[in-house]
Amino acid sequence: MTTFHPQRPDTEPMHKPGQHRQPLWRQFAALWAFGLREYRLWQSYRINQVLWMTNILVTTLLFFLLGQTIADQAASLLGPAYGTNYMSFVVIGVTVNIFIATNLSDPFFRIQRSYFTGTMDLFLLSPMSIYTPLLGLMARSILDDYPRLFFTFGFGMLLFGATFNFTYWPLALLFTVLFLAAGFGLGMLSASSFYLLDIKKGTEPIQFVIQELLATLLAGTYYPVTVLPRSLQWIACLIPHTYAYDALRRLLDPGAQPNVPVLPIQHVFPGLSPVLIDGIALTLFTVILVPLGVFAYGSGIERARRNGTLTRWQ
């Protein structure tokens, strides 16, 4: 075996020696780069933009037209808690559903797409945090789905007679942050299935059960949970969507009465304001689901690193 005499090294690691983590601003710079990348991807498919706009128009109009058809009968079901304007009720339902469904369903889908196109391999070779690609890839979902908020509110208010009371907007914003965080916690749990449980293709069960099944049927996007049998109302209390709908409707719908209980759990604590119960529930969901999602996703990556399933191509 030979002895090799190397030249004087003139190399540099990707950042300073001994600095085990990239500074936070570099993680933000990476997130910004992801945002620009996703914008370029989104922008590069011009026909996609037309289809995107058409899809928003059609789905939003569909909900409103159906809503208007049954608005008078539906209003009587709302009860005093949510006011009497069904269009306002449905605008909040549709908006919250878009936001939370994006945060819950898209992480798995984004990771899956990135894995199969080979770009995830590249991200995992860079020294950034394993969570940066997960957050960065969500930029596309935000570009695709969050603007629907403006269309939904705009159509609802301008064309279909939805009205809102913005007196408590800071509180509504706080609830929005909470349900987005809780939804993303579930989204990270769902994304962790990709690496932790090797769910590489097809439908991911966590997002299917919670979003497609429970939230769609029970949380009360288009009707109040009071129309459901009592047992199903209790099941509705197990997902964050239900509390987000309840709180935001009480805060934003004109004529809504914040102190009238609707959800079964609100009847259990008659001394507490229903909005407070919603707040506590969403805070608990956030505090439990976000760390659990972070842990599950990190464990999934490490498990894949051990088992050799971390990258597709490299």
């Binding site: 950042h15 995992l124 950034m128 449980l197 090797d198 097809g202 050799g308 990258t311």
Partner: protein, 370 residues
């Protein structure tokens, strides 16, 4: 495992075993898909069920030391463990057992390792973003790795010039040939003068001109930075001209290691005899004792002609002995050549044959295969 700055790569008794992949029987009542697969794997993660599929051992008790600034070649046939070894050094895999370090960082510290390693793989889609131009692809990666924008601009230009792609910098990957895309990947790895560059089969798909360009780059510019380069190839011949040392892997084990001259010297006791014959059957008798191995090589398009490549111990009678063994009354020899072996031939030999050892069972296997 103590931290060390002595070696660019240090592996001590590293073994990598992949868990086997269980297949549910096709057409089974509950085929594992969707929720059934999720539940099954969840139970597996919680260790409530066991994986009955046999594990796959990719590396076995491998010890290796690569010095800083060295160009180190890894050769071996498909499935020999080259890519597993590269992934392990790149921090994409964890060893099942054994220790090691990369540029002084323990193998378990994968995040720190990723700061010190640039990895170029030419398989798959190479991580290129199709809606971004070649230049944008490289700068995107620079940003992801935390490189400040002004430096990223300078380094991107430098890297694109180095791989001869500056003129094509505004082209999208779909407008580039496969070889050009490969050079974009290489340029991406040149952004950072990391202590270690891993090149997994970098010349696959490159034309001779750009293969030479790459080899010159390895010998010249990268070496001048003092970067350690580990490259794999299943073509050992290319490696001979560029690597300071070469390791030959087979079935996850290190079978030879040394400078190219030493490895060639180890082959001096061997001769390679190539025989082209008319269509005929494999010899019915066992090969003579001086034959180490023999291959029948399919030559697409060469109908009715068979090529036999026989690896024999050097002897004045070798040529005649092999001819007596292989030629049959029904066949006619149309070409015969005896050559000195090169490193590529090591891959065709039974384990230990080239270095003097002799594995009878392996030899017997090769005979049976013939």
């Amino acid at each position: 495992m103590s931290e060390t700055t002595e070696d660019a790569v240090l592996l001590e008794h590293v073994t990598k075993t992949y868990p086997g992949v269980e297949q549910s029987p096709r057409g089974a009542w509950l085929e594992r898909r969707g929720p059934a697969l999720w539940l099954h794997n969840l139970l597996g993660v919680a260790r409530l069920t066991s994986n009955k599929a046999p594990p796959v051992q990719a590396l076995h008790d491998l010890s290796l030391r690569i010095q800083p600034g060295e160009i180190f070649g890894l050769v071996g046939p498909n499935g020999s463990g080259k890519t597993t070894l590269m992934k392990l050094v790149a921090g994409l895999l964890q060893p099942s057992s054994g220790n090691g370090s990369v540029a002084g960082t323990c193998l378990s510290n994968t995040r720190e390792i990723r700061r010190k390693v640039s990895y170029v793989s030419t398989t798959g889609w190479m991580g290129l973003e199709w809606p971004l131009t070649a230049e944008e692809n490289i700068r995107f990666f620079a940003t992801l790795c935390g490189m400040p924008t002004p430096l990223a601009r300078v380094r991107t230009e430098e890297a694109l010039h180095t791989v001869n792609l500056w003129e094509d910098r505004h082209k999208y990957p779909s407008q580039l040939s496969n070889g050009m895309r490969q050079r974009v990947i290489l340029a991406r790895a040149l952004l950072f003068h990391t202590p270690l560059i891993l090149l997994d089969e970098p010349t696959v798909g490159l034309d001779p001109v750009h293969t030479q360009l790459l080899l010159d780059l390895l010998r010249g510019r990268l070496r001048s930075y003092g970067q350690t380069i580990v490259l794999t190839d299943h073509q050992a011949a290319e490696m001979e001209g560029v690597a300071d040392r070469i390791a030959v892997l087979d079935a996850g084990e290190l079978v030879m290691l040394g400078i190219p001259g030493e490895l060639r010297a180890a082959l001096k006791e061997m001769t390679v005899i190539e025989v082209h014959t008319e269509e005929m059957e494999s010899p019915a008798t066992l090969p003579p004792s001086l034959v180490l191995a023999a291959e029948h090589i399919e030559r697409p398009g060469a109908l009715s002609v068979r090529t036999w490549r026989v690896y024999a111990r050097t002897s004045s009678e070798a040529l005649q002995t092999v001819l007596d063994w292989i030629v049959q009354p029904s066949g006619r020899v149309v070409f015969l050549a005896e050559t000195a072996p090169n490193l590529q031939d090591v891959l065709a030999l039974p384990r230990g044959a080239a270095t003097g050892g002799h594995d009878e069972s392996e030899h017997a296997h090769r005979e049976a295969h013939l």
